[in-house]
């Protein structure tokens, strides 16, 4: 934790708090019926998106899952655009076509929100292939869960990326569960880094509740990828504090287990660390919460005020307009 300036500490903290409060609000709006469909909360896992994203530049590509509010916000997609998307409004970041699971912002090289587990890994490999062939010096960071490790696409993608030495950074958000199935009940061997290595991808495992550790590990890996060393994998061990989705009764985990992990809340941990180093005051926290609260209130207002796409546009964006 050397070299941590107050400014940087506050910035990281704010990103994590923004995700947390944004999602708490989203959960509320879901109960009100403003947001519908599937809503997967990232609460508890904020340090992964925040830490990892520090190591990525504007030229890099991001590919995420359906649990991607965190990545989108940290990448700079505005809270308003994300909220409007979840409302299904035309000012949403995917024009209301995608919803919570399909946030896109191509201007930020944020290539979505993917809802088929494992299905985004091949796409990430392809983005990296394009960069490689075009000699763009960029990293494609692909986030996915532990559940995706069971899919054939995981192994195929790692092999192809390694075989062609493509600049992919695989970030496995290992929150120990794929819906209700614990890691050790879906993987005979739970050592994810070992699987990556068997495919030819060097890997590293990191405490996903420690934002600085995630940042450091991702930075090391991303730099290697950027230098042309081929793909890397970072496994961040984390935990989701909420149920899998708003439909999930969460019957498969014990209260004790959840509490144990909550004691390692990444925001609380980082707050404590900053305080301990004298980098954070009560006033800072109050100010930060106020600013985040205002940002979210504005986001909700933006979503509320946003227009509905006219139904006449139903068939829009199925094909790209083209002069023939």
């Amino acid at each position: 934790m050397t070299d941590l300036t107050r400014a940087r500490g506050l910035a990281l903290l704010r990103q994590m708090v923004l995700i947390r409060r944004f999602e708490e609000k989203a959960a509320e709006l879901y109960t009100e019926g403003k947001i519908r469909g599937f809503l997967h909360l990232y609460i508890g896992e904020e340090a992964v998106a925040v830490g990892a994203m520090q190591a990525l530049t504007a030229d890099d590509n991001i590919v995420a899952t359906y649990r991607e509010h965190g990545q989108a916000l940290v990448r700079g997609v505005s809270a308003g655009a994300v909220m409007a998307e979840m409302y299904g409004k035309a000012n949403g970041c995917s024009r209301g076509r995608g919803g919570s699971m399909h946030l896109f912002d191509v201007s930020r090289r944020f290539w979505g929100g993917h809802a088929i587990v494992g299905g985004s890994l091949p796409v990430a490999v392809g983005l990296a292939l394009a960069d490689h062939m075009r000699s763009r010096r960029a990293v494609t960071a692909c986030f996915f869960g532990d559940g995706a490790v069971a899919e054939g696409a995981f192994h195929e993608s790692l092999n192809l990326a390694a075989l062609w030495r493509l600049p992919v950074l695989f970030v496995c958000e290992n929150n120990l569960y794929a819906m209700g199935t614990a890691l050790e009940r879906h993987q005979a061997r739970t050592h994810i880094v070992g699987k990556a290595e068997a495919a030819g991808v060097a890997g590293d495992s990191v405490d996903g509740m420690d934002v600085l550790a995630v940042e450091a590990a991702t930075r090391r890996a991303a730099e290697a990828v950027r230098e042309g060393a081929g793909p890397r994998l970072v496994e961040a061990r984390t935990y989701r504090f909420r149920a899998h989705s708003m439909y999930d009764p969460d019957l498969y985990r014990t209260k004790e287990e959840i509490e144990r992990w909550k004691a390692r809340d990444p925001i609380a941990l980082f707050t404590a660390a900053l305080r301990e180093q004298g980098l954070l005051t009560d006033e800072d926290i109050a100010a930060l919460e106020a600013s985040v609260g205002a940002e979210i209130a504005a986001a909700v207002a933006e979503a509320e005020a946003g227009p509905w796409e006219p139904v006449e546009n139903l068939l829009r964006d199925v094909h790209t307009p083209m002069d023939r």
């Binding site: 519908r36 469909g37 599937f38 998307e85 299904g88 409004k89 995917s94 209301g96 076509r97 995608g98 919803g99 699971m101 399909h102 993917h114 809802a115 088929i116 587990v117 494992g118 299905g119 559940g147 995706a148 069971a150 899919e151 054939g152 794929a178 819906m179 209700g180 199935t181 009940r185 879906h186 993987q187 439909y247 999930d248 009764p249 019957l251 498969y252 509905w308 796409e309 139904v311 139903l314 068939l315 199925v318």
Partner: protein
């Protein structure tokens, strides 16, 4: 007769099968500890234990293939693929193995496999989670495709599927799970390959299946208030299709409208239309029409999704359009 939901009816069939046949077991993602993504299998792990209610990893191709192998090996597997959307990952096993093994081996073996999956849209789950691919499945020789549209059928067709010696794919429309219906839990298996006339009527035949059935019945209620009596044919099984019941209805009404949640082009509805063309042409007073989903990956926003899917109102409008102007 008991009132129960479609979900409970499906569960009732699963329980009955697990109780009565030691070869039967259930496997799929989250069917056990989680209780099933749609809570269909809730309580079954507790009753039957982890050997017979098996949570699988996220490996659709492999656990469907393992179901095929287990069927070859003397078991009666029921594989739950959480939704049809994920079954795209398992199509190699389904088309190249489940459907072909018997034939390729010259009839030496059978694959008594039942695969259940939730299908359809209407819950704002967007473009990767809203497919209705029953028509694709119905294209494949060697398999049977059933699409229960009522709670009673959810139970009885699943029991029937388990009696089949060859692979059966059961499509449960997610929108039907919470719907209630009368179920006779003492009744035996239903009959695969037999359509049902859900409503009689003289003016036109509306042919449908699965999740569109309630919408069609809503539409026909409205039409009835206008003096239009539509006959409703619920196909129930898409493969083999009960063409006789369809043709008999068309022979009575002389007009047919097919309602199918699949995308319009190459929908199952196209097949029904083509069969009526081939074998009911001279009974027709006008062209057979289709109400299908719009040809668009499913949009998330509620109003857009509603516009993309067949609705009672669009069905009723299409029916009216087909009848000669009155008055």
């Amino acid at each position: 007769m008991t009132k129960m939901t479609y979900r409970e009816a499906a569960r009732s069939a699963l329980r009955e099968a697990l109780r009565s046949d030691p070869r039967v077991f259930l496997m799929g993602e989250d069917v056990g500890r989680y209780g099933g993504a749609f809570a269909v299998s809730r309580g079954l792990l507790e009753e039957f234990g982890p050997e017979r209610v098996r949570d699988t990893p996220l490996s659709e191709n492999t656990f469907v293939g393992a179901g095929i192998g287990a069927a070859l090996g003397g078991m009666r597997p029921i594989v739950e693929v959480m939704t049809v959307n994920f079954s795209l990952l398992a199509l190699d096993q389904i088309v190249n193995n489940a459907a072909t093994l018997r034939h390729m081996s010259g009839g030496q073996l059978s694959v008594p496999l039942v695969v259940r999956m939730a299908t359809g849209g209407g819950r704002q789950l967007a473009a990767q989670h809203s497919h209705s691919l029953e028509g694709w499945y119905a294209h494949v020789p060697g398999i049977t495709v059933v699409t229960p549209g009522t709670a009673d059928d959810a139970r009885r067709l699943l029991l029937a599927a388990l009696r089949e010696p060859d692979p059966v794919f059961v499509f449960e429309h997610a929108y039907l799970y919470p719907m209630e219906g009368e179920v006779d839990e003492t009744a035996g298996p239903g009959e695969i390959g037999r359509a049902a006339v859900r409503r009689e009527g003289r003016d036109l035949s509306i042919i449908t299946y699965g999740g569109s059935l309630p919408k069609v019945l809503q539409a026909t209620d409205v039409l009835a208030t206008e003096g239009i009596e539509a006959e409703v044919v619920d196909l129930r099984t898409l493969r083999p299709l009960d063409t006789a019941t369809v043709l008999a209805s068309v022979a009575r009404t002389h007009r047919a409208l097919i309602v199918d949640e699949g995308w319009r082009t190459c929908s199952f509805a196209a097949e029904v239309s083509a069969r009526i063309m081939e074998r009911g042409f001279y009974d027709l007073d006008g062209p057979v029409q289709r109400v299908c989903s719009a040809e668009v990956p499913m949009p998330y926003a509620r109003h857009m999704e509603e516009a993309a899917l067949p609705q009672a109102a669009t069905i009723a409008a299409a029916a009216r359009e087909m009848l000669p102007r009155r008055g």
